[in-house]
Symmetry: C2
Subunit: 234 residues, 2 copies
């Protein structure tokens, strides 16, 4: 079971690490962290760095391909033809192609999601329409072998579902027990529907802080003014 | 706000990355990933590698100290006097000292938890008693400035609580929205109480696979037979 997780600068680490923590427990799992080039990948906060042991030119196929999200980095990926061609090529070989958060925008930009329902992070899900996908704000959405999920932590739910499809419910329950995924969010605030406009506004403001940090640290601020505008929505 | 996350070989990555994803959003957060020595840290599965940008000799204080867990690596840490001395020293300076999963066993081994209630992963929580701590199988347990949490994913719940204590509930709600932490575990299996003996047995069997892989890849199998026995419980 070859599980390929694509890493790129600006990645939201939990988007990759949540699903990895579930899927790496599948029987005979071999998880490969793959970057455009090998080496250290800097996350969106710039505090956490992960290692890509492989580069895309070394990977020809996958049983599961996972594309994680990011706060702004995903828009850089949608402009890389070599990355998009690689995703399309690997997708031809997969049993499952899945994404977390804005990873679905990257998938959509390859044309894979044309005419299909797809989920993404609430703040940018409208961008899916630019690529002919149909935004569906659900925890995760399955279209045949493609599963797209909501933001960040939703990758854990999606991966448990995926694990149950691959190894059966009893295996998936054991993974859930191993990572003690019996969530008890402490703020008595349990759904998107309960979100006030104030909370949304604060979340957007805080996201912009992370976006600006990411842009400035990559010294790309000038080139990406257009992207910043895009990110703010229509 | 200096947030110090201790990394070590054998770490369960989600134990560190879950809380990081929440706490890195605190106002003026500066998150430092710190190893016994600097450089690449290999996780329990050996598939994922994280980077420790600092080493313990460079860190004198922290506002938040976080000790993540592992499947077997934690027992190696409990034998390192330099690491335990460092944890005790940093703990003197913290506003909060927190752990996820078996990180509480490391904390306990420093003497910090003596006489205090503490949580940990269900499979090894009995080990806390060896260090005079009182096992409490709760999602997370607060004792003044110390918070210990259950296994792996529980670090997300604990960190949201911690964020609410530091920055207030409205801030914490915004972080929750940013990472869309509105969990919907898909297996209709929502609490430890629902766990069958079969699921527990399978989880223990799968954990041993990971333990053995970790031990063999560190070529420490011989030295750590005693640890393997310890891990299996009393």
């Amino acid at each position: 079971m070859e599980i390929v997780i694509y890493l790129y600068n600006g990645i939201t680490a939990l988007d990759a690490v949540g699903p990895y923590e579930v899927l790496s427990r599948l029987p005979n799992a071999n998880v490969k962290f793959v970057g455009e080039t090998k080496g250290i990948i800097v996350s969106d906060s710039h505090f956490l760095k992960l290692v890509a042991d492989y580069e895309i030119s070394e990977i020809e196929k996958a049983d599961i391909l996972l594309i994680p999200g990011s706060v702004i980095g995903f828009l850089r990926e949608t402009r890389k033809n070599n990355v998009k061609d690689w995703i399309k090529k690997i997708h031809q070989t997969t049993q499952w192609t899945v994404s977390v958060c804005t990873g679905s925008i990257i998938l959509a930009s390859t044309g894979i999601l044309k005419g299909l329902k797809a989920s993404s992070h609430w703040a940018v899900i409208h961008l899916l329409k630019d690529y002919g996908a149909i935004p569906a704000l659900e925890r995760f959405v399955r279209e045949d072998k493609i599963i797209t999920s909501q933001g960040v932590s939703a990758g854990i739910d999606m991966s448990l579902y995926l694990a149950s499809q691959i190894g059966g419910v009893e295996q998936a329950k054991a993974y859930q027990l191993m990572i003690e995924y019996f969530p008890q969010p402490p703020l008595s605030y349990r759904s998107m529907e309960e979100t006030s406009e104030e909370t949304k506004l604060l979340a957007r403001k805080l996201t912009e802080v992370r976006v600006k940090k990411d842009l400035s640290m990559f010294e790309m601020a000038k080139n990406f003014q257009s992207i910043l505008k895009l990110r703010k929505g229509k």
